[in-house]
């Protein structure tokens, strides 16, 4: 499998601190070796895009970053994933605490069938982030503002979250993830179920979120990766083929596989 790896990867940190440092990560689904020897350093306050053809393992890798793969019985993860100096797969780590620091937004908007307010307030409530109602109101408002949704929903916070449009629902899910003030925000194809207008709103939002969080986004759309990310990682058949600044990856790919994917020959 080592021959599939690119020997030299230029990892330019651009002076930003490293948030997530992954070393020799292997993921198995039963007998299937889904992620092979992935080494990657994800920067703080940066949007990192994972691109690659379907089934290349980019979503699998993303779900490792907040241990969502723990819910799959047959998944097995090896290697080190270090968040701010602590290995998140250490036996002492409770995934519940981890997930409050590493939030996640899913492909399909999945608001709870509760009010908009309760959707956002759920995370802070279960983590005990507020002492009283006023504080919680403040957190909810900040999160909804952060997700660029406040102006649209401020008058109907008690209406059900599932009654919003698709794009609004996805921004609500982002607000819900932001409400626990995570350090890293994982997004698994957040725009694939949205129309172009909603997509551009979410992309704009992702750009704003970069100021506060480290954002990792999995996307099928290379244009989207080019638009929103500063760093891009290209996955192919479970290998991290190439990782670098988005400009480099798209204009000057080092690996022939990256080049053929970007030019539309594979994938």
């Amino acid at each position: 499998m080592n021959d599939m790896r690119l020997a030299e990867r230029t990892v330019d940190t651009q002076g930003k601190p490293i948030k997530f440092s992954c070393r020799d990560v292997q993921v198995y689904y039963g007998d299937k070796h889904a992620i092979k020897d992935v080494n990657v350093d994800l920067e703080d306050k940066t949007v990192t895009a994972f691109i690659g053809p379907s089934g290349c393992g980019k979503s699998t890798f993303l779900r490792c970053l907040n241990r969502m793969n723990d819910t799959i019985d047959i998944a097995r993860i090896e290697g080190k994933m270090i968040l701010d100096g602590e290995d998140i797969y250490d036996r002492r780590v409770d995934p519940v605490q981890l997930r409050a620091r590493v939030g996640m937004v899913f492909e399909k908007p999945n608001p709870f069938p509760k009010s908009i307010y309760d959707n956002v307030a759920y995370g802070p409530r279960i983590h005990g982030l507020s002492r009283n109602k006023a504080e919680l109101d403040g957190i909810v408002e900040k999160a909804l503002r952060g997700a660029a949704l406040w102006n649209e929903v401020k008058d109907r916070l008690n209406e059900t979250g599932t009654g919003l449009s698709g794009g609004q629902q996805q921004r609500l899910c982002i607000a819900r993830a932001v409400a626990t003030s995570p350090e890293v925000l994982l997004m698994d194809e957040p725009c694939s179920a949205l129309d172009p207008i909603a997509t551009s709103q979410v992309e704009e939002l992702i750009d704003q979120l970069r100021e506060e969080f480290s954002v990792v986004i999995v996307t099928h759309s290379m244009q989207q990766a080019a638009r929103v990310s500063q760093k891009t990682a290209f996955f192919h058949l479970g290998n991290l083929v190439e990782y670098g600044t988005t400009d480099d990856i798209f204009t000057n790919p080092q690996d022939p596989r990256t080049e053929s994917y970007i030019s539309g020959k594979i994938g």
């Binding site: 981890l98 997930r99 996640m104 899913f106 995370g123 279960i126 983590h127 599932t162 819900r176």
Partner: protein, 454 residues
């Protein structure tokens, strides 16, 4: 030349085949459409048969059973003769209690005789025996209880509706006719004529009979007095036990199996066996209950506690299966969402998954309860078929006292000879169906209330 001629029309035909008019259905389409029409017709016929069967069933039950809710009473003034009810004249409760119900019967007979004389009713062959058997033997006991409770009515003439015997009652429900009365040992043509005359003068009335749902069962020769009171209480107690035990155990088991348990051979075996248990004949649960709860644990026979435990065991698989189906139907994206914001597994289940599964859980529970309410066979084995005339006390003590159950009461009454009991059995079925209907209504309302879209 011949080739060309023969080729010509063939080509035209071939062209026609490729470009057919849309206005004319071809043979294949017609066959397909006919098959579809036939299938729809089969469906409609099947539904019609089912509906007819249901209508027929309800019609016969209502026809046979509605009589049980009406009862004939004799409105004739009765003089409470002090010489009979208080022979010592001291109004002492103990002495008065020594007077048997038989003596009260003679007062009732006398009042009827007086009425006949006063109204100048002439009936051929009307004898003492006809007066005596005109009243239900329950009527004497009721009168005696009344006198013992209010001794001040002694010596006065009171106007209390007295229960007529089941034969007299039957005359007004079509069960007893002049022809059948003539050959019946327990009534006579003279009695029939007397009843007619009394009804004409308003001394016999048939009215709604609350006693049917409030009074306990009565013995074989007092069909007119038999009621469902104890059976309803017994059934209610058992439903209470089933609800309190089966709902939490069933839901907890399903949540564990569906959300927490590892998927391995052991859980597979458990799953298969739960499904199998749902198909075990109920009488087997009765034998189990007899062996485990009565013989081994020494719980009392005929008690709602034992019936409730047996029915709990029977209901558990139903609740578990439907709860698991409801949990499975909750979209996984909701679990992801909750886990994604850092909820623990248990928070995910109790804050999000279970509330969304609630309509299914409640429907399953109420269907299970309804099934348990109508279950007869296991109750026969644990002695709930006994003749119980005393109300059990309030729970929790009452759960250990003998009681009957609605379906068992139906079974019991259909065994008895007097055709009045057949009417009462049908009436009991109406009550049972009313309870089942009410439970299903509750299920529908709860489902509507908890239903959420996502």
């Amino acid at each position: 030349m011949t080739d060309a001629v023969s080729a010509g029309p063939r080509r035209v035909g071939a062209q026609g085949a490729t470009r057919k008019s849309l206005l004319v259905a071809d043979a294949r389409t017609r066959r397909r459409n006919a098959a579809e029409t036939r299938f729809k017709a089969y469906g409609i016929v099947a539904i019609a048969i089912a509906m007819l069967a249901l209508v027929f069933l309800l019609f016969t039950i209502v026809r046979d059973g509605s009589g049980a809710f009406r009862q004939t009473f004799i409105d004739v003034p009765v003089t409470i003769d002090a010489a009979i009810v208080d022979p010592k004249g001291n109004r002492d409760q103990k002495d008065m209690a020594g007077v048997l119900t038989m003596s009260y019967g003679s007062m009732l007979e006398k009042s009827l005789e007086t009425w006949v004389a006063q109204n100048n009713v002439q009936i051929e062959g009307l004898g003492k025996a006809d007066y005596a058997s005109f009243y239900s033997s329950q009527a004497r006991a009721t009168l005696r209880d009344m006198v013992l409770e209010n001794p001040e009515i002694i010596g006065t003439t009171i106007n209390v509706p007295a229960l007529a015997s089941s034969r007299v009652d039957g005359m007004f429900k079509g069960r007893v006719t002049a022809e059948s009365a003539e050959i019946d040992a327990r009534t006579s043509l003279a009695q029939f004529r007397l009843a007619e005359a009394m009804e004409e003068k308003g001394a016999l009335t048939t009215r709604f009979n609350w006693d049917f749902v409030t009074q306990p069962d009565a013995s074989d020769n007092r069909a007119e007095a038999a009621g469902l009171g104890v059976a309803i209480i017994g059934s209610a107690y058992m439903m209470l036990i089933v609800l309190v035990l089966a709902l939490p155990i069933g839901v907890a088991a399903s949540i564990y199996l569906e959300e927490f348990a590892p998927k391995n051979r052991l859980t597979d075996i458990i799953e298969v066996n739960i499904s199998n248990l749902a198909a075990v004949p109920s009488i087997v649960f009765g034998i189990l209950g007899l062996a485990a709860f009565i013989n081994f644990m020494g719980l009392p026979r005929s008690a709602p506690i034992v019936g409730g435990l047996v029915l709990t065991l029977m209901t558990l698989p139903t609740i578990i299966i439907s709860t698991r189906a409801a949990l499975k139907a909750v979209p996984p994206s909701i679990r992801d969402a909750a886990l994604g914001v850092g909820a623990s597994k248990m928070q995910t289940v109790f804050h999000h998954v279970l509330p969304l599964a609630m309509p299914g859980v409640l429907t399953g529970t109420i269907i299970g309860l309804a099934q348990a309410l109508g279950e007869t066979a296991p109750l026969l084995l644990i002695g709930m078929v006994a003749f119980v005339t005393a109300y059990p006390s309030a729970p929790p003590e009452g759960l250990f006292e003998p009681a009957s159950a609605l379906p068992v009461q139906v079974y019991n009454w259909t065994q008895r000879a007097d055709s009045a009991f057949f009417e009462r059995a049908s009436g009991a079925i109406i009550v049972l169906l009313a309870f089942l209907f009410a439970m299903n209504l509750v299920a529908i309302i709860l489902r509507r209330r908890f239903e959420r879209r996502w």
